[in-house]
């Protein structure tokens, strides 16, 4: 997708959502849109890691849940302002991302996936072992919420942060950085042979996904007003992967669409917790088998089909 089309799609979506609170009176529907936007931040930053750099990480929940916990704890125990809580949460996620990125440098594919899976599981165990300070199985609550819990204000704050995240990520994805990451994904040895320091760029991809994953995580906990160990569970590592593959890997708009679809589906499937994982597994299998380029690939094919039709009609 061209840069101009991408920006056009993003700004159209933004303008549409600006008027959403005026059109939709239902509190819950608006709230779903807000959470979908938070997951957009999570999915697009993970797309830089998975779609562009080709690094499969099952540890994204560590950045999401970890930063969420840091932001919540800082406000609850030290009374820090929320903006500072978010910044420090992202900073902690950055340090974790650099650490994991560095120690997993030599790993690829499923090996990388398995090793990264360990980190959030390790942190969940720590949470369970120290209930007094970290809230144990029940998590923590009672810290300040963004905009004092005002639904409309929260909606607009999240919307603006999502727009900023999208613009930054598109800038990176469609720029030289995105091209270099794709080259590393295609052939790391070939990339080194043309002078690319693959190590540096792979660590960058981890760090980027960590910072914005952390941003999504802190927004999530500070909007919810509570945070629980479930935010560090493998579910939250798998969500961005499903969102990316459903929408189309290495396509920021695809990841955005995937995030909206899965957030909605997830809420409708809340009543059927065991069915959820089966349905998600089914989605991944069908998408990877039949539509490897995801929903964006289908849209492109429709475009190609229309072009073919117009050619036929001219003949």
């Amino acid at each position: 997708m061209e840069k101009r089309t991408m920006y056009w799609a993003v700004f159209s979506g933004f303008i549409l959502e600006l008027f959403l609170p005026l059109i939709i009176a239902n509190y819950w529907t608006l709230r779903i849109f807000m959470f979908a936007n938070i997951f957009v931040i999570f999915a697009i930053s993970s797309d830089i890691l998975l779609g562009y750099a080709g690094l499969l990480s099952f540890g994204q929940a560590l950045f999401f849940g970890g930063a969420g916990y840091v932001g919540a704890l800082l406000n609850l125990h030290f009374g820090l302002p929320l903006i500072l809580c978010i910044a420090i949460g992202c900073g902690v996620a950055l340090i974790l991302g650099l650490f994991i990125g560095y120690i997993c440098l030599r790993l690829k594919g499923p090996y990388l996936g398995v090793v990264t899976l360990i980190f959030p599981v390790l942190f969940i165990t720590i949470l369970h072992l120290s209930p007094a300070y970290l809230g144990g199985d029940n998590g923590i609550a009672g810290f300040a919420q963004i905009a004092g819990g005002s639904m409309h204000a929260q909606f607009y704050i999240v919307l603006v942060v999502t727009l900023a995240s999208l613009l930054i990520t598109i800038k990176i994805a469609l720029g030289n950085m995105g091209l270099i990451l794709k080259a590393i994904r295609e052939d790391e040895m070939g990339a080194e042979a043309v002078g690319i320091n693959a190590t540096k760029y792979k660590v960058f991809a981890f760090a980027y996904s960590a910072v914005f994953g952390g941003l999504a995580g802190t927004l999530y906990s500070l909007v919810m007003g509570s945070v629980a160990p479930t935010t560090l569970s493998p579910h939250y590592s798998i969500y961005p992967i499903i969102m990316i593959y459903l929408g189309g890997a290495s396509s920021i708009i695809g990841a955005t669409i995937g995030a909206y679809v899965i957030t909605y589906l997830d809420l409708y499937l809340l009543a059927f917790p065991f069915m959820r994982i089966i349905i998600y597994a089914g989605i991944i299998i069908v998408v990877l088998r039949c539509f490897p380029d995801g929903l964006m690939g289908i849209f492109k094919n429709i475009g190609g089909y229309q072009k073919w039709l117009s050619l036929k009609s001219k003949v």
């Binding site: 794709k182 052939d187 070939g190 042979a193 002078g195």
Partner: protein
Amino acid sequence: MAILEIKGLRKNFGGLTAVRDLSFSVEKGKVLGIVGPNGSGKTTIFNLISGFLRADSGKVILYGEDITRLKPHEIVRKGMARTFQVVRIFRHLSVYENIKTAKLVKDKRTEALEKGIGELVSLVGLKGKENEEAVNLPVGDLKRLEIGRALATEARILLLDEPFSGLSHHEVDGIASLLIGLIKDGMTVILVEHVLRELKRLAEDIIVLDFGVKIAEGKFHDVINQQVVKEAYLGGATGAWSR
């Protein structure tokens, strides 16, 4: 004046010595051919020189600087680039993007970058195919693209690993013409090749390897007729293996 010197290079893989105390040098603007039977260590030498493998002992000196311990991307920035026996192209990137990726390492200014890419695409004979995904190109074009990508790094020494393998006669002629043009412009080339007809056209000097040992070195015609070289290729009691 030698711009690349290899001094006593040695590489072991477990109990197998792939390269044994190898020394040679290449002068500016010259073409050196490396030949030898399969498994004689030709590609291992390229991997050692370009930093993809670490030598157990010996030195690689480029423009008077020891680059033995440098990483591949650092060596490229010093002015030496390589191609691979099995092309390592970014398959789902276009021809333009493949060249741009390599060009970005040295030049990030948009105007110069665009101009440079256009010139390189024409030079390697891929004009009109800029937007084609590399995965859709025939093997001859892939070889051209890989050479173009190496040139995009602004390298002054090219290490070409079997640039003619798997090509039709027509494609071989095309690549050979491209290389002759580059050599005329002063490019220094080290060429690993089995196609002796083309090697004869391109390389003045060759070295012959057998089981990681240099068994002959000198002018193409002098070396290729030596008994030890024939035995290394065709087998015999006096080959390097038996010594």
